[in-house]
Amino acid sequence: MTDIPTLETRRLMLRGPQPEDYPNFKATFASYRSRFMGGPLNAYEAWMLYAAEIGHWDIRGFGMWMIHDKDTDETYGMAGGWQPAGWPEREIAWIIWPDKSGKGYALEATHAVRAHYYAGGWDGAVSYIDPMNLDSIRLAERLGAIKDKTAQTIDGSDAVYRHPSPQALDGSQLAHGIEMEIGHYADPMFKPKGWALD
């Protein structure tokens, strides 16, 4: 099976999904939180989706990581590359457990996985987002992704957000801004204004 690399960020460790990480995944996909990612799922569907998340790495050579706290090892959600059959393009995808939102973990994780895939040769990526999923749209926009109305969708019910290319991102004000925002979240004294962002 594919060796899944480990990614380290300021606060997080991203590792391949393991059997012991399944309960939090299941709880999230059983909840209303998963309504924009094909859920809520019953117990069988959640188990099979988790198995597919693992097998995706072998079939595609890339996939979704489990997001861990670097110090406590606690899991916060998943982020990575996702392209099951029927996906027009490679997607940067994420989900954060409902009780772990608002800490900037999704931003920190997706910024790292995008950089990893760009360093590995991807020339771009998209995120397929339900138009009602305002939190994910805001995250896509903070990552510099722009709605692409001409791109092919998965099934017509999703909006396509196109990420900046590696050249457009490299050394840009945007990239520095993302790192600065992650830095704010990592600062224990930081109190975000407005509603909590992933």
Binding site: M48, A51, A52, G55, D58, I59, A85
Partner: protein
């Protein structure tokens, strides 16, 4: 992590991207009706991912079966225990080269692995009523019918109990 098994005529190896096409071709046909099919291309793709992920979640799973001289997959055989299975089973389906005993040959290798390497003390096979070819394989392997199982998604399934490790020893 997924071991490779070798029998007289066959190799049982880890599933991979090279199996997408033959797997999808089988699941596109009615021949897959006893094993959850037919499935469309996207469903089959995801199912292949699940077959691989099963290994990670359970520590065992199913292999792609190939002939020794050709890496093209001709079937899926092995140890299967998804979320809502009553207990682990040894399962098989062969989609190319039917009638040559490949299912029982691969099935025995998988059962030997369960008993010998994993230390299982018993194993069964669940077979959909009407899947007579699979019943013949189970009987050729010495399995005998037990009580039926009412599965929430697949309906009534017949359970065939295999001989234990000593009786089935190769």
């Amino acid at each position: 992590m997924i071991p490779t098994l070798t029998t007289e005529r066959l190799i049982l190896r880890a599933p991979g991207p090279q199996d997408i096409d033959p797997f999808a071709a089988f699941y596109a046909t009615d021949a897959s009706k006893h094993v959850g099919g037919p499935l469309n291309e996207a469903e089959t793709w995801r199912y292949l991912c699940q077959v691989i992920g099963h290994w990670s979640l359970r520590g065992y799973g199913r292999w792609m079966v190939t002939r020794k001289d050709d890496d093209a997959a001709i079937g899926l055989v092995g140890l299967h225990n998804p979320y809502d299975w009553p207990e682990p089973e040894v399962g098989w389906y062969i989609w190319s080269g039917l009638g040559q005993g490949f299912a029982s040959e691969a099935g025995r290798a998988a059962r030997d692995y369960a008993y010998g390497t994993l230390g299982w003390t018993t194993v069964m096979s669940m077979i959909a009523p009407g899947n007579d070819a699979s019943v013949r394989v189970a009987e050729a392997m010495g399995a005998v019918r037990e009580k039926d199982h009412d599965h929430p998604r697949h309906g009534r399934l017949m359970i065939y109990r295999h001989p234990g490790p000593e009786a089935a020893a190769p």
